[in-house]
Amino acid sequence: MPGDERNDRVIEVHGLARVEGEGSLKVAISNGEVTDVALTIFEPPRFFEAMLVGRDGTEAPDITSRICGICPVAYQLTACAAIEDAYGIQPSAEVAALRRLLYCGEWIQSHALHIHLLHAPDFFGCADAVELAKLDRSAIERGLRLKRMGNQLMELVGGRAVHPVNIRVGGFYRSPQESEISGLIDPLLRARDDALATLEWVAGFDFPDVERDYRFVALRTGHNYPIESGFVATSDGLELSPRAFAERVDEQHVERSTALQARLDGEAYLTGPLARFALNKDHLPAIALEAARRGGIADGCTNPFKSIIVRAIELVFACDEALRLARAYSPPSPSAATFEPRGGTGHGVTEAPRGLLLNRYVLDPDGTILLARIMPPTSQNQLSIETDLRQVVEAGLELSADALTSRCELAVRNHDPCISCAAHFLDVEIDRR
């Protein structure tokens, strides 16, 4: 398009909507070529890393849970894993199972929120979930039912849905009774049906025809779909302990962003549902594998816009896994392992809903934190998201400014970036006429 103004323009979105936190994006195009792509993140967890220094290691789960209101369990259980690694604690099998059940609740509420209220409106040309509710009320109602199911699970196991209070290093403060957990079975059966309906719904969306050559990074366990533990695997064959992964990931600060950008052995990579699915789909239960087949991606998925299908498959999985764990539940007794603090370095990795989360703590002999490192999924995905944006813009130069901007925003939302918790005060203009 020589001489076409669409070949020379700048796309800017100052306050990204429907993402978890405060961010912006800017894409510059000159002579039909993308010359600059910048996903800017304002809100990092660095404040928390500094705040953790000097605190007792046992406080890390509660403090880090405040980083995010959507995935507090991820932060709590990753901190627990890291401190337990440092202290040499091996939680019981019952504690591990109850933690996995709790984490399923967080996956259910987070995926339900993102699919129905944050991501789906894009595929209908809706500005937000309110507009979508007017078009397809039943879908939004279903999403809210699923979110409540996740919250219910978190409230029962974690003590409350937002920033749960029942989690501690070594296990739990209180083990739920069998009768309490068995009360979840019928609601989970209904939730699993809702999740299957959601999968049918999203599989019918129209998707841009984009394929990416991602380097995927996710946990693997060798025996199940990873959530609360595992080793780090990559799509090019690496298998790393949490410690080795932490050593090989380099986080670099870029001036425009307060989040660090991560590279594994110098290369960008992607964590999250697409990566988990690519590296672990052989460990999905039959009902989720069948869901993947119906979603048309049983052989894998490298189209970032279809991440909503993968998220729906994981929603089916999380409901099914929670159901399995609820049926097999045996209350941990004692509810937590006893331990003595000791000095050392501990690493923890888990799969937060939107990707791999790493915690690393250096502790002095009485258990005081000397150094904390928190590597959330979004800083790991930032470079890959920018590459997505470059490809989307290059493929969409013929689109109008509004259409291309919307496509770029969707490209960011594909990865459900969690830009860490920020303030949410009201900006108000009071008209006193």
């Binding site: 909507a17 429907r18 993402v19 978890e20 936190g21 405060e22 404040f47 405040r66 209101g69 959507i70 929120l113 209220l117 944050l118 937000d128 979930a129 309110v130 509710a133 007017k134 009320r137 939004i140 109602e141 809210l144 979110k147 409540r148 919250n151 849905a161 937002v162 920033h163 918790c421 920020a422 303030a423 949410h424 005060f425 009201l426 900006d427 108000v428 203009e429 009071i430 008209d431």
Partner: protein
């Protein structure tokens, strides 16, 4: 009015003056025991499902309007046209759907409480860190008094 009342404080105590809403909700929770649901809520969306059956919802949040620091405003949103009357109001929200969005969604799903009062406290410092400005702390005291007054004599008018 003492039944079917939800009191919710929105905000983050780790963002200085943004912690005003949770501070008020905690105080109210210590003072009254007849409210259906009371307490800090980190995410406005958590109101969905918790305020659906309420006759009255009182939501406390911090605001940035240019008013004097710590000033308290009470807005009755029960009949407000959220698209028209709140054209100058945006929610700076962590998770995509803020308080106004939550109220709009509740209305779209016919789940909004009969009455919704927003108690807003003017803040200025929203950077990372704990603790309220002194004037905002005074605003918290005022907000608590006004809410107790509203609940105590059964009035829901403002």
């Amino acid at each position: 009015m003492t039944s079917g009342v939800v009191v919710a404080g929105l905000g983050s105590e780790y963002r200085q003056d943004d912690g005003a809403g949770p501070a008020v909700a905690r105080r109210i929770a210590e003072m009254v025991d007849y409210i259906t649901d009371v307490g800090p809520m980190g995410e406005p969306l958590d109101l969905l499902g918790r305020w659906d059956e309420a006759d009255l919802a009182i939501v406390i949040d911090s605001m940035r309007s240019g008013a004097e620091l710590g000033a308290v405003e009470v807005f009755d949103l029960s009949e407000a046209d959220l698209e028209r009357d709140l054209v100058g109001t945006t929610t700076v929200s962590t998770h995509g759907i803020g308080f106004i969005g939550t109220l709009r969604l509740s209305r779209a799903l016919d789940r909004a409480p009969s009455r919704v009062l927003l108690v807003a406290i003017e803040g200025r410092h929203f950077d990372q860190g704990m603790g309220l400005s002194e004037a905002v702390q005074n605003g918290v005291d005022q907000a608590v008094e006004r809410i107790v007054d509203l609940l105590g004599d059964g009035r829901t008018d403002v």
